[in-house]
């Protein structure tokens, strides 16, 4: 990554949220993080409606057969540099959906995941905490 990029990049992480088959638990917590109580917009984080505008991809869910290529397509459509945060345990490892005939996850089998958020579902603070981890990661990348 080019030097100096992360400074401006970090200040306005635009987020695209993709649900790959989760139970909505994590999804509503992501929206809750955007709402008044947690208000992540003070960090310049914004939920956008198109992957082509996004810097960070938030993925939830254990990836169903139908969604696999769609998730991949979204990832490919995102411009570089990009980061992927996997929210919730079903995306991390499958959680209660650890076996099934219609699942192809976990997500890190399909996409390179940068930060895993653990929880079922994680509290909005845990998601903000994950964003802080992404900042740290960006900074270390730039320092190199």
């Amino acid at each position: 990554m080019a030097k100096g990029l992360s400074k401006s990049f970090k200040k306005a992480l635009w987020v695209y949220h993709c649900n790959s088959g989760s139970c909505n638990g994590c999804d509503i917590e992501i929206i809750a993080a955007l709402c008044p109580r947690y208000d992540v917009e003070r960090f310049g984080i914004k939920l956008v409606g198109s992957p082509r505008h996004a810097d960070v991809l938030l993925v939830t869910g254990p990836v169903t057969r139908q969604m696999k290529d769609k998730v991949l397509r979204i990832y490919e459509q995102m411009p570089d540099p990009k980061a992927v945060i996997c929210v919730g345990n079903c995306g991390n490892t499958g959680d209660v959906f650890f076996e099934g005939y219609n699942l192809v996850g976990p997500i890190d089998n399909i996409l390179p995941v940068d930060v895993h958020v653990i929880g079922c579902p994680p509290r909005p603070e845990a998601i903000i905490n994950a964003v802080a981890k992404v900042w740290v990661k960006l900074e270390t990348l730039e320092a190199k």
Binding site: G21, E29, I31, Q66, V96, N102, C120
Partner: protein, 407 residues
């Protein structure tokens, strides 16, 4: 050429107006929708199949993750099914606690829906307002159960956590907050010009269609069908409480079955939920909260049991029904069938959407409060590269229509 051409417009599976993956294919003529086709399956996680490979206690938590928004109704319907199959009698206090949790979830879900509906008509300020109020409910949920979303409170034969005397003031405080602010929400939704213009006469579901297509929950009640499992059939402690059917004519005196009526319906249900919770707190008897407090003993009992049963519960979106068959000598359930409310509310989308404009798709679809992860999940597809519309654009159109109407 005089022949009219129609276009096919796919929306979904990933679409900003749709919070969950589901795919619509619209046949459109200009801005009018001529035909609708829905394809599901993007969130099919093979839950029912997995449930036959695990024991009923594990299934409770699997059922909870069918849907994160109604994370209480599924496990409770499952345990009702098991209780019916085995004839387990739940202690009275347990029944009352179940009602309180159920009504708390209903308030939570309807507030969430109110926010989403506001977002779909392009009125984001109200989204933030309702979600701010909803945080109060989430705090209460966390206080009573230990997590904001997944409650993990149901146990076969009762509940896992009691409400002690020192917890009551906090519940009362939250209910009072909602009672004080109810008029504010009602005013925002029902007296607002924008809402009236966008919602009245849009997405009409007639009484006959609602019955024929087997619609459930607030969707069918807003069309005037009196169908509410809480009142239809005695279960939990609902039969002890003062409860009656709620239809939008209580407030307005007439039924149109449009989106506006569905908003009224849900607001009235929030009010009813507050009332029911207060009644429960008053009447709650003392005693046990669960029939068999030792999970290990319960498992042994379930292993020997044989029988089948159905469990029905009125979830925020409508009737949930679980069918369970248990075979003796096997710890795992033999068959487990889950019917989530949205499953029955998919077909009513078709009469609702036909003849409407494209910009109305989000609000009409959202008006049934679809929960695709329950059913299994809407999307834009670029088949044949004909016409692609993403959620953002759809939302934009929605906003533009509001502005146009306001002029």
């Amino acid at each position: 050429m005089t022949e009219k051409t129609t276009y096919r417009l796919p929306i979904g599976p990933i679409h900003p107006a749709l919070k969950e993956p589901v795919q619509f294919e619209f046949e459109i003529d200009g801005e009018r929708i001529v035909d609708v086709d829905v394809s599901l399956g993007h969130v099919h996680r093979s839950i029912e199949w997995a449930g036959t490979r695990r024991n009923p206690i594990q299934n409770l938590y699997l059922a909870e993750r069918i849907c994160g928004i109604c994370s209480y109704c599924h496990p409770v319907a499952f345990s009702l099914a098991v209780e019916n199959a085995l004839d387990i009698q739940v202690p009275d206090r347990g029944e009352y606690l179940r009602v309180i949790q159920g009504e708390l979830e209903r308030m939570c879900s309807h507030m969430l829906w109110a926010g989403v509906a506001a977002h779909e008509v392009g009125f984001d300020t109200v989204l933030y307002l309702t979600w701010q109020m909803r945080e109060k409910l989430l705090d209460l949920t966390e206080y009573l159960t230990g997590n904001r979303v997944t409650k993990a409170i149901t146990m076969i034969g009762g509940v896992r956590r009691d409400i002690t005397k020192d917890m009551v003031p906090k519940i009362q405080e939250t209910l009072d907050y909602f009672k004080e602010n109810f008029e504010k929400i009602r005013h925002t939704y029902l007296d607002d010009k924008t809402f009236k213009m966008r919602c009245q006469g849009v997405g009409v579901l007639t009484y006959d269609d609602a019955i024929k297509l087997c619609a459930v929950g607030p969707t069918t009640r807003a069309s005037g069908v009196k169908k509410d499992v809480r009142v239809d059939q005695p279960y939990f402690a609902y039969s002890d409480l003062d409860i009656d059917y709620i239809t939008p004519d209580i407030l307005t005196g007439e039924i149109h079955g449009d989106v506006y009526d569905r908003i009224i319906q849900r607001l009235l249900e929030v009010k009813q939920a507050i009332d029911l919770m207060e009644q429960c707190l008053d009447k709650m008897p003392s005693g046990d909260i669960v029939a068999e407090p030792k999970p290990a003993k319960l498992l042994a009992m379930l292993k020997k049991a044989e029988g089948e049963g159905i469990g029905r519960h009125e979830a925020p979106r409508g009737e949930v029904i679980h069918y369970v068959k248990l075979v003796s000598g096997e710890e795992n359930a033999y068959t487990w069938k889950v019917r989530a409310p949205t499953y029955n509310n998919i077909l009513p989308w078709i009469p609702m959407l036909k003849g409407e404009q494209i910009a109305d798709i989000p609000i009409v679809a959202a008006s049934t409060d679809p929960c695709m992860s329950c059913t299994n999940r809407v999307a834009v597809v670029d088949r044949d590269n004909k016409y692609i519309l993403n959620k953002e654009e759809l939302h934009q159109m929605s906003v533009e229509k509001t502005r146009r109407l306001l002029k």
